[in-house]
Symmetry: C2
Subunit: 548 residues, 2 copies
Amino acid sequence: MAQTRILPAADNAYQYPLLIKRLLLSGPRYNPDQEIVYANRSKYTYTDLVERIHKLANALTDAGVKPGDTVAVMDWDTPRYLECFFAIPMIGAILHTVNVRLSPEQIVYTMNHAEDDVVLVHDDFMPIIEGVKDEIKTVKTWIQLTDSDGAKATSVDTYGEYEALLAKADNQFDFPDFDENSVATTFYTTGTTGNPKGVYFSHRQLVLHTLAMTGTIAHFDEMPLLRSSSVYMPVTPMFHVHAWGVPYAATMMGIKQVYPGRYEPELLVDLLKTHKVSFSHCVPTIMQMMMATESIKTADLSNWHVLIGGSALTKGLCDAAARLGIHMYTGYGMSETCPLLSATHMKPEDLELPLEQQTAIRVKTGIAVPLVDLDIVDPDGNPVAHDGEAKGEVVARAPWLTQSYFKQADKGEELWEGGWLHTGDVASMEPDNTLTIKDRIKDVIKTGGEWLSSLDLENLISQHPAVAGAAVVGVPDEKWGERPHALVTLKPGEQAGVEDIQSHLKQFVESGEINKWAIPEQIDFVEDIPKTSVGKINKKLIRDQLKD
Amino acid sequence: MAQTRILPAADNAYQYPLLIKRLLLSGPRYNPDQEIVYANRSKYTYTDLVERIHKLANALTDAGVKPGDTVAVMDWDTPRYLECFFAIPMIGAILHTVNVRLSPEQIVYTMNHAEDDVVLVHDDFMPIIEGVKDEIKTVKTWIQLTDSDGAKATSVDTYGEYEALLAKADNQFDFPDFDENSVATTFYTTGTTGNPKGVYFSHRQLVLHTLAMTGTIAHFDEMPLLRSSSVYMPVTPMFHVHAWGVPYAATMMGIKQVYPGRYEPELLVDLLKTHKVSFSHCVPTIMQMMMATESIKTADLSNWHVLIGGSALTKGLCDAAARLGIHMYTGYGMSETCPLLSATHMKPEDLELPLEQQTAIRVKTGIAVPLVDLDIVDPDGNPVAHDGEAKGEVVARAPWLTQSYFKQADKGEELWEGGWLHTGDVASMEPDNTLTIKDRIKDVIKTGGEWLSSLDLENLISQHPAVAGAAVVGVPDEKWGERPHALVTLKPGEQAGVEDIQSHLKQFVESGEINKWAIPEQIDFVEDIPKTSVGKINKKLIRDQLKD
């Protein structure tokens, strides 16, 4: 270690840890009267937000919550949830954002594994809890969240209803200082195998993620996420990686926020129109559902900027959105990374290009954001060329990555092999540092010593006019190691055979997009392609089925 | 201390300290070919910048620099200085930015006090060193900086010339990781009394200041400091609080930077025009000099955004600049605060106001930026009302404030009395959280139990058409504690007497801007008002002279 001159860490006056409570200083100061909207139900100001956070802290403390406790939330995307984002970690407790789309068994697993002490549950999710409450071991207190006039009847023994508890709580809470490395949030990632794994983030990590996100996204010439005039509405759920951390950034900057509750496409479009939303983050599926609504046709979307993540933004979706005037961007990250690692970076000259040429830039995974150290490496951990062709696994270092998996240190060590977080994604990097994700490393097809992207192949097959969807997996092959095997679904009333798909793919061999050996010999036409609970292609299941 | 759950600080893989080297990751990645310009002399790219930082690190190491050493720089504002901003702290050494405007005696004092090991000196400052070199005790190595074709002859025993050293240095340096609380920079503040005091900032502090500045300034609807298309040129010197930290922020975001060398008004305006500069920070005096040039009349300044600090931005200067199309803002901070504490915050609706009404907002000291906790307090440390009227001393907490004064712990304890940094500035705060600095606490006039701002009074006296300048100090008074005493200079050929000034001030009593008791009985007409070395009114000297 270099012998630098180090500031004395003794108990001098100048200790100012990076705590989530500090993110709450500036927003209400910039815009005390700025609005926070709950769908078409209610709205309040930043001044109210601060008061309600203080009341919530008192209500939770009255309910027995202590620093170090874990408080879980099962709610739609609401200002209540925003209050929990702040109040729970600001007490020194840990916010567990429960994935309400998991099966009841998985919810039980995550609550027991996280050792939840208190759970806030929306009426809509109460039936789940009613069915499994005897299996949940550590929870001492249930608090009810309701959008009705009064709390609905339930067999769960609840401590009280959120609004009623806030109404009688004191509006002054003295939020303590503590170590910035204290855990602030936790939630569970789902894979295709095994139990969900718990990631966790500290106050310091969330503050740094917020600062870096604020600087990054405001940097883009055309993207006004965090300017004074911005209006933010999340369209990826708050239980999933803190809605990508944007609620913290938006609150720090004092901009208008619109929480939609449930993700109903007509409601979302209605809120876009009513509040002139200028920034959202979204997954492709929901985006497509919104674009399929009748009401979007009469919306002025020329000031709507959408950061797409979760799955790849396709050229088709990006073009269709651009024709509606929407500004599309790709963000890249995952549960383990808090999540932001990289985002589309449009240079001023890029904005002068015709829309279709802009699309080619917008669908890439972008350039790593400030403070993130990121590279692509081969299986031995050696850097791979940044030539836009060579593929490697994306590895990252940054001040906001999960340090391990909760109570699964062995899996954490795998994640951090060699001191870099291994994303499990395979990508190429262009000479201008633009990253393009090609595949999951376990889905990439290793054939003849080369890495073949199953995603690339699926995209090309899907361009055949008769094809509705495609999935490609690698199957063992004596000569080549692995060979690609495709499952294809056809559009209703359409016809196509193996040779049609193969000859369709040959044009891409001629244009240089793929090599001749990328064309699968095995192509099965199927009714349905197996999907996971979150709607991704279940390649593990396909591989298992093909093995049998 | 709250019993939170704390991340293990043990030697796990996930240690990623906040080091200045991480600020250098993203800029060259966003824009490898982006330009860094040196006046009308030369330019290079971000790729070159990175290579030159590696070479400089090798050259300094070859010259004996080790982590923990102090390396001082005496240069104009140049890309060389930017290289030193990075390379010196990235080695683990401490960058001492020498105030070249100090007297030779004070320069000797600061170099000895900082215990400089190596000094980089521009030819223009070599005569100063030649005159005092025998009094400088700790410096082992002198490196010459030159803008000529070859190094100029000097009696100082130099180790080599900067460009020659870089030319032969290796272009790969393995910058180490170390504790983020390591000191990165130091420099000296000058007061009207006593020796200069050394402030110092750690890697962590500078990284956090950079992140917060990036988010803050990009937040303003009309101010494009840190968008991809921005062009930055500093017009406050790099030796003074790291040019307000903007070079770090600009480099992190990969934007074009123009370093002007010396502050010659014609040159500065020429560079503004040539490079379409969009953002600068500046003090009022230099701004006035630039606006007085002939060439500014033909410049299109409608995209030039200027953050004013150092002294108050007057309405007159702000209006004059606005008429030229310039967008003016006020920033607030000081050497002790890295410096950013607050800045003008223009809401979208503010930008719709007529220019003169915008001026009223732009000349205030703005709203505290994210993560900064800031208040105004009375002499007992109790908060003062935020009513726009009541005055109190500005106190602050933030993650980037100097922890003490180097080797003057007693003065550091005064600075941090009660756990807040005491700025020594008196201000009022409006209900919308806008801060307006009224005076230095030692210059405020305590009369009849009230605080009277000497600056307010000077501004009002200066509005008399015959008045060129004014200085007001408090003088002891048996009945009232203190009474204001004014020194006034008149414009050439103008005439005015004590009663003219007093009756001029009475109109402001009638309009409610000041109280009747604010009108000074004692008004002296003088040839010159005493100034300090940095051009501020020397109130201590005036008070001493009036005492005699």
